[in-house]
């Protein structure tokens, strides 16, 4: 028991000695760090000021963190908005002919009919078996009514700014002179377009009756190439009102 009590006291004294030594080693040498009553009051005031500063800075951190999170949230929304706008731009580009379009539809091949035996050039028979720009305009008009969303003729996309103009033996579309035969690719509502392809009293039937060769083919998927450069209107301005 005596040894135990002695051991206990030895250990306790060792701990105290260790503590004294470690605490003393923290104090810079050659410098009186013991505060006087006056300096203690000043130090206490400084400490309280620092605590107040820390408290304010902590609040500021909270406020700035909240602000940052709010900005991040807005940024996420803006990213979404940007994505939406970009998708809309692409969509508009596709339907304005700036970008290629894919989808189901019809492919029509139109070719001038063969000349009849003994046909006089420039005669009515000759006129009837040749494809004219008016024929193409009527055909495109009917296709649009029957579900066409995008149309291409011999690689040229037909949009609202595309002209379809007779240019001697060619038809001019988007400034390009296209010779016969004409391959018309139409992307749109396949069921309506298919029904149109076999319906009576249509432009297709009219062309066939005139001796023009028309082939109609259903396509589950096809690609219409982009062929129009983005428009830069010179005179038309957006109404800012």
């Amino acid at each position: 028991m005596k040894r135990f009590s002695q051991g206990m006291m030895f250990l306790a004294a060792l701990v105290v000695g260790l503590g004294i030594s470690l605490t003393m080693s923290q104090i810079p040498r050659g410098k009186n760090t013991e505060p006087t009553d006056q300096s203690y009051a000043v130090l206490l005031e400084n400490r309280n000021t620092l605590r107040k500063d820390i408290y304010q800075l902590t609040h500021e951190i909270d406020y700035l963190t909240e602000k940052k999170e709010a900005y991040e949230l807005v940024m996420e929304d803006e990213d979404g908005l940007y994505e939406k706008m970009y998708k809309e731009l692409l969509r508009n580009g596709r339907f304005l002919g700036y970008e290629e379009v894919r989808g189901p539809g019809l492919q029509l091949k139109l070719q001038d009919g063969p000349a009849k035996e003994g046909e006089v050039p420039g005669s009515m028979d000759s006129w009837l078996r040749i494809i004219h720009n008016e024929d193409m305009l009527k055909l495109l008009n009917e296709l649009r009514i029957h579900g066409a969303e995008a149309i291409e003729i011999n690689g040229q996309r037909v949009t609202e700014t595309s002209e379809i103009f007779c240019s001697w033996a060619f038809i001019s579309i988007n400034g390009e002179k296209l010779p016969a035969p004409f391959t018309i690719k139409v992307v749109g509502d396949l069921s309506r377009l298919s029904a149109y392809g076999v319906a009576d009293f249509t432009q297709i039937k009219n062309l066939l009756s005139r001796g023009i060769l028309v082939e109609v083919e259903k396509r589950p998927i096809m690609t219409l190439e982009a062929s129009i450069a983005p428009l830069t209107p010179l005179f038309a301005e957006e109404n800012q009102r």
Binding site: F4, A13, G19, N48
Partner: protein, 118 residues
């Protein structure tokens, strides 16, 4: 003597050990050391007076240290130097204990009475 030996050994160990107490805790450690030192001197005194009890010493050693540290902590939070209460109390008792030990040791020496070396 074993107490003095322990103290000296502890101080030497502290000098050679590369242990750094964070500045924020230096006051706590200082007050805790004072409380612990008071307990050690109290134990020495009790030993000389043959009233030593290990449990009283152990509970006093840790209890006083913890209470002194808690007072310091509370004082820090309230902005009042409450650790001074511990310093005054343990400091005063430390001197009292030391005086008792000194007198006891001297009495033993003068009277030539046998006492157990601690």
């Amino acid at each position: 003597m074993i107490v003095l030996f322990g103290l000296v050994l502890g101080v030497l160990l502290g000098l050679f050990l590369d242990v750094r107490i964070p500045d924020a805790y230096s006051l706590y450690v200082a007050v805790a050391i004072l409380a612990a030192f008071d307990s050690v001197l109290g134990a020495w005194k009790a030993h000389l007076q043959k009233t030593y009890d290990s449990w009283v010493f152990i509970t006093g050693f840790f209890g006083n240290t913890i209470i002194a540290s808690l007072l310091t902590f509370l004082g820090e939070k309230l902005g009042i130097p409450m650790y001074l209460a511990a310093v005054i109390f343990f400091g005063g008792r430390l001197f009292q204990n030391f005086a008792t030990i000194r007198r006891s040791l001297l009495a033993h020496k003068i009277k030539g009475e046998h006492h157990e070396e601690v």
